[in-house]
């Protein structure tokens, strides 16, 4: 049973306090999208053995959704962070690289630049 620290209220929460929300950072496709795009958005999920980004809600706590970066095989938690970012933050990337030097992000810096900061404000 995992413990994840809620980045909003700072509590190291038991898994039983949390609601899982699946893969993080999905891009929503709505009306006007192709069948392929929409199918991928609805159903195609990453299932890596290793670094993965997930959504969790501190359901029996502050109620906030947050993101967690963890290793699906070892259950190591690299960090938790705000849900209000389209990609993992540079701090999270650095924390992952500290333990998994060979790991490569699968998003491009250019898109990552549509920045969390302005949206976060």
């Amino acid at each position: 049973m995992l413990t994840l620290t809620c980045p909003y209220c700072g509590i190291a929460a038991e898994e039983t306090e949390l609601q899982p929300g699946g893969e993080a950072h999905l891009k929503r496709f709505g009306p006007g999208s192709t069948d392929e795009e929409f199918e991928a958005y609805l159903f195609a999920r990453k299932n890596p053995k290793g670094v993965h980004f997930e959504r969790w809600r501190h359901a029996y706590g502050c109620g906030k959704w947050f993101m967690a970066a963890r290793d699906t095989a070892t259950l190591q938690v690299f960090g938790t962070y705000s849900a209000q970012t389209p990609h993992p933050t540079p701090e999270i990337v650095a924390a992952i690289r500290a333990h998994r030097p060979d790991w490569q992000p699968d998003w491009t810096e250019a898109t990552a630049d549509t920045s969390a900061e302005s949206l976060n404000a």
């Binding site: 049973m1 995992l2 413990t3 609601q19 929300g21 929503r28 496709f29 709505g30 009306p31 006007g32 999208s33 069948d35 929409f38 609805l42 959504r55 809600r57 359901a59 109620g63 906030k64 959704w65 290793d71 070892t74 259950l75 190591q76 938690v77 849900a83 209000q84 333990h99 949206l119 976060n120």
Partner: protein, 977 residues
């Protein structure tokens, strides 16, 4: 002395108190033991060597161990609701007045009919059931399985509820040390000296482990450590406390026995600790392995360490003439302990070609014959050992000598207890030198920080003697012996037990290997090796060594089976803790709950709520009560407690825009003061919830959800707000419990409400259908929504929760002459079905879209987007062959069963009739005096008047005619009052 049994020694027994005798019953006989005894030691003292029978062959079974690994000495404990099967006699402390019964035998332990299996052992090989009962196929279900089931199963489940109390507790600890032996005590002290908070848990009632018995000055070493630990404020010592499993991120489950088998203690029987440990030190020691020689299962053949435990700890002689058989030096300790207790040791049989260590020398010095390079060829005796046949270990079992004995102390070497280490991913290495799997410190189980969350010390780490702590001298190497003698015949292997409880022998594992079972996990399941209640603690290593030999591969290539928690069985009561009976889960009650109770309401669960289903009067059936309530509402006026309806405030500059995304319909255009019915879908397009939204002000909506959907819908909104449109300025609050809500329904609803007085104008002009108003009713601040779920004139009145009962009582007082009638959820359901209104959970099941239900009018054509819109454009969603909502009129006057399918012509590939629809709601309508139903039917709306057939097993098929789903007041005039 003799009162506690003929095998109680005159001296010794460091754990017993000879001043306190305890009476107990075994198999109907009265016996006596001593305070400090386990059940096993007390029974042995009384000469009761045989304590049960094995699972498959019903062979006589005595204890082979003295601890948690015991596979044989399993008893039924207690009576009535406190009866527990399969309790290990070796770990159960004796309590005065205990009642115990042997298992798996009938009519008695000594004369067991099932033992006939024993003579048929050649016909019950590995995989017997799989091979024998295959054909003819129907025989399995109707003949073989019932017979096997009757004779299978170990012990009997109790038939009454457990009257004991259990509790659970949480702890956060820096370091938890599991095992109170010398290595654990030392590790705890070291961690405590570093200033860490430390728990030390020990499964037995005593600290010290094997050290006091096995090592000179052992007790003094243990006492010194305990004295230091007891003086440290940051240390918690818990005895009779079993760590059962280590899970992710240092989550350790620990069961503490508080008042086991002592119903008068007045405290919880057990406590389950749920510990988050910063680090777990596994100091769980090692377990001795049996040797596989012919007849190794005869009662009286006992592990060497257990023999000396019974003598040294309990002052009990497992036998008076004890033969030792070993492949290591450690077993010689048993010879010395036995000799010190005045027992005979006629011979030590050592498989090794030489026994030159200090311990063998000490034994020889006492005049005991040591036969090296020797083995046991067989045991004479059935229910107890009578003599031991000796042979050369290198041969095939030529008997060279027979020695009389009543006990055999065997030792096949030791295996570290690596269960906790392995539960969460710690890896093992095979050590050829020590013939054991030991933890690999370089591959530990890791925690949230990626670092080791457990480490092993002492014997659990493979350091069997812990010389640094015990002062033990080095011993000669153990020689791996997996079959004794080395070239034993096939016939002998039929008598070599690996799993004593499940009757798995060397011959079975070899047969499995021969039949192609190369994976240890497959072999385990095929032969049932290690599947007994001890979960292979004594059998696994021997079994996989035999398998490896049969496959001609090294042991690490075979590997171990998976170690799974719990280490020892957990009582279900402990897992449930306090969550049983009335407090199994929290109940939600409305402010009017007490009134409903005192007016005879029959409640039904809706989520965690309890809602009145109906209010039966004396002598009235539920169906009659529901019919009466409906007629009263339709004729005059009724009240429904609608407080459980979900109520969510959605507020902010972007609230309208947000609700347009949440709902299929347009909510942003709703004028202040008006209500609108809306549908919420998930992103898959499927209908998820429905309800009425009211616009409270320019930037505020109050959204109603279903009773069961409030938390789910609030979470759904928060999900989209926090994770997708986090820059939208919207706030939500779930205010469900802040308001009590009463639906006042029926043609006299307005009359009744107006009698209560207040400033709200309830006239149709001031408050039209789908309008709402705010003010005071009967002096209570209120909001009144003119919405209807029954088709009648209806006002839903919301007041602050603490005024709900007051409003409800005033309505009933003021409406007595109007026959104001409280009605329950079933009347509500029937009335909505009479009107053809859908119900989330009846008409929807997670695969239904609004378009299936004829709800296109509630889907905005203007909006470019809403949650579910894109999904509803997918080809399968727009398929004209999707089943659509229709009404169903019973042709023969019978009420259609719920959920039944309408059949179509032809059959599917499985030979079942094709289907073309199903019933989603079905009731007897008191209003129309006929059955009504709704269902989803292929091309339904275009097939009005067609009759469908609904077959039901064992009955004549039901027939129903497709009709409009609105059965009552099609024009909808009644809602206008």
């Amino acid at each position: 002395m003799t009162e506690t049994g003929p095998f109680r020694l005159p001296r010794g027994g460091r754990l017993i108190d000879r001043a306190y005798q305890l009476p107990f019953r075994f198999d109907g006989r009265q016996m006596r033991g001593l305070l400090g005894d386990t059940l096993a030691s007390a029974l042995l003292a009384n000469g009761q060597l045989m304590m049960g029978r094995s699972f498959k062959y019903h062979r006589p079974r005595g204890p082979i161990a003295s601890g948690a690994e015991e596979p044989n000495a399993l008893l039924g404990l207690g009576q009535g609701g406190r009866f527990e099967p399969n309790q290990r006699a070796t770990t159960t402390p004796l309590v005065g007045g205990m009642v115990t019964t042997p298992q798996n035998c009938w009519p008695s332990l000594n004369a067991d009919i099932g033992a006939v299996n024993n003579w048929l052992y050649r016909f019950f090989p590995a995989g017997f059931y799989y091979k024998t009962f295959m054909h003819p196929r129907p025989f399995w279900k109707h003949v073989f399985e019932p017979i096997i089931r009757r004779s299978a199963g170990l012990g009997k489940a109790p038939t009454e509820a457990d009257p004991d109390r259990y509790e659970q507790a949480y702890a956060h600890v820096d370091v938890v040390v599991v095992g109170g032996g010398i290595a654990g005590l030392t590790a705890a002290r070291d961690a405590a000296r570093d200033g860490k908070s430390v728990w030390l848990v020990e499964q037995t009632p005593h600290f010290g482990g094997r050290t006091p018995t096995d090592h000179a000055d052992g007790q003094a070493r243990v006492d010194a450590l305990l004295a230091e630990l007891r003086g440290m404020a940051n240390v918690t010592l818990r005895r009779s406390t079993q760590a059962t499993g280590l899970y992710d991120h240092g989550y350790l489950l620990v069961r503490e026995s508080l008042a086991d088998h002592d119903p008068n203690a007045g405290i919880p029987r057990q406590r389950l600790w749920r510990i988050r440990a910063g680090h777990v030190v596994v100091a769980s020691g090692a377990l001795e392995r049996p040797l596989s020689f012919a007849g190794n299962d005869v009662p009286g053949v006992i592990l060497a360490s257990a023999v000396r435990d019974y003598i040294d700890n309990y002052g009990v002689a497992p036998g008076r003439r004890i033969v030792i058989v070993t492949n290591n030096d450690d077993a010689y300790r048993t010879a010395l302990v036995a000799l010190d207790a005045g027992l005979e040791v006629p011979v030590v049989i050592d498989a090794r070609s030489a026994a030159g260590g200090a311990l063998p020398a000490a034994v020889r010095a006492r005049g005991v014959r040591v036969l090296t390079g020797s083995a046991i060829a067989g045991i004479k005796g059935g229910q107890a050992v009578e003599a031991v046949k000796i042979c050369a270990h290198s041969g095939s079992g030529q008997v060279t000598e027979t020695v009389d004995a009543d006990c055999v102390a065997m030792s096949g070497g030791w295996s570290p207890v690596v269960h906790l280490w392995s539960h969460c991913g710690g890896k093992l290495n095979w050590s050829d030198a020590q013939a054991m799997f030991a933890p690999d410190p370089n591959r530990p189980p890791t925690g949230a920080d990626g670092k080791a969350m457990a480490s092993c010390v002492g014997a659990a780490a493979g350091d069997l003697l812990v010389p640094a702590l015990t002062g033990a001298q080095a011993e000669s190497a153990t020689m791996p012996v997996w079959v004794m003698p080395a070239h034993a015949t096939r016939k002998m292997k039929f008598k070599m037990w690996l799993d004593f409880q499940n009757d798995v022998k060397v011959s079975d594992v070899e047969l499995a290997a021969q039949e192609g079972y190369h994976s240890v996990e497959h072999t385990k399941r095929y032969t049932t090796l290690g599947m007994a209640t001890d979960q292979g603690k004594v059998s696994n290593i021997n079994g996989l060594a035999v398998l490896s030999n049969a496959l001609n591969q090294p042991i690490p290539a075979t590997g171990t089976t998976t170690f799974r928690p719990p280490y020892t069985p957990l009582t279900l009561g402990t897992i449930a803790g306090e969550a049983r009976g009335e407090i199994f889960q929290p109940l939600r009650k409305t402010p009017m709950h007490g009134w409903h109770e005192s007016h005879g309401a029959f409640f039904e669960p809706v989520g965690h709520w309890r809602r009145p289903y109906c209010y039966p009067k004396a002598g009235e059936s539920h169906a009659d009560a529901v019919a009466r309530e409906i007629r009263a509402v339709r004729a005059s006026v009724g009240t429904l407690d609608a407080s459980t309806l979900g109520k969510i405030i959605v507020k902010g500059p972007d609230a309208g825009r947000f609700l347009d995304m949440m709902y299929t319909g347009m909510m942003s255009t709703l004028p202040v003061g008006k209500c609108r019915y809306g549908l919420i879908c998930n992103e898959n397009g499927f209908l998820s919830d429905d309800g009425v939204a009211a616009r409270l002000s320019e930037d505020t909506w109050l959204v109603h959800t279903t009773t069961g959907g409030a938390e789910r819908m609030h979470g759904h909104m928060e999900d989209w707000l926090q994770c997708e449109w986090w820059d939208w300025k919207v706030w939500t609050a779930n205010v469900t419990e802040q308001w009590a809500q009463v639906a006042v329904v029926g043609p006299k609803a307005r009359v009744l409400l107006e009698r209560l007085g207040g400033q709200i104008d309830l006239s149709p002009e001031a408050l039209p259908f789908m309008g709402w108003a705010e003010g005071e009713i009967a002096g209570i601040p209120a909001r009144v929504y003119r919405i209807s779920f029954s088709g009648e004139l209806s006002f839903e009145v919301a007041v602050p929760a603490n005024r709900g009962l007051e409003l409800w009582e005033k309505l009933h007082e003021a409406g007595r002459d109007l026959n104001v009638t409280p009605y329950g959820t079933e009347a509500m359901h029937v009335m909505r079905a009479e009107k053809g209104f859908i119900m989330i959970g009846d008409e929807t099941d997670g695969t239904v879209i609004p378009q299936d239900l004829g709800l296109n009018w509630a889907i905005s054509k203007k909006k470019t987007d809403y949650i579910g819109k894109r999904a509803q454009e997918r080809s399968h969603m727009t398929d004209p062959r999707r089943w659509k909502l229709v009404g169903l009129e019973s042709v023969d006057g019978r009420v259609l069963p719920d959920g039944v399918y309408a059949v179509a012509d032809g059959v599917n590939p499985n030979g079942q009739r094709n289907t073309q629809g199903r019933v989603t709601s079905t009731y007897m309508s008191p209003t129309l005096s006929k059955p009504i139903a709704m269902g989803l039917v292929l091309n339904g709306p275009e097939r009005m008047g067609e009759v469908l057939e609904f077959p039901v097993a064992g009955q004549e098929s039901y027939k129903a005619r497709i009709c409009d789903p609105v059965f009552y007041d099609k024009e909808g005039s009644r809602a206008n009052g």
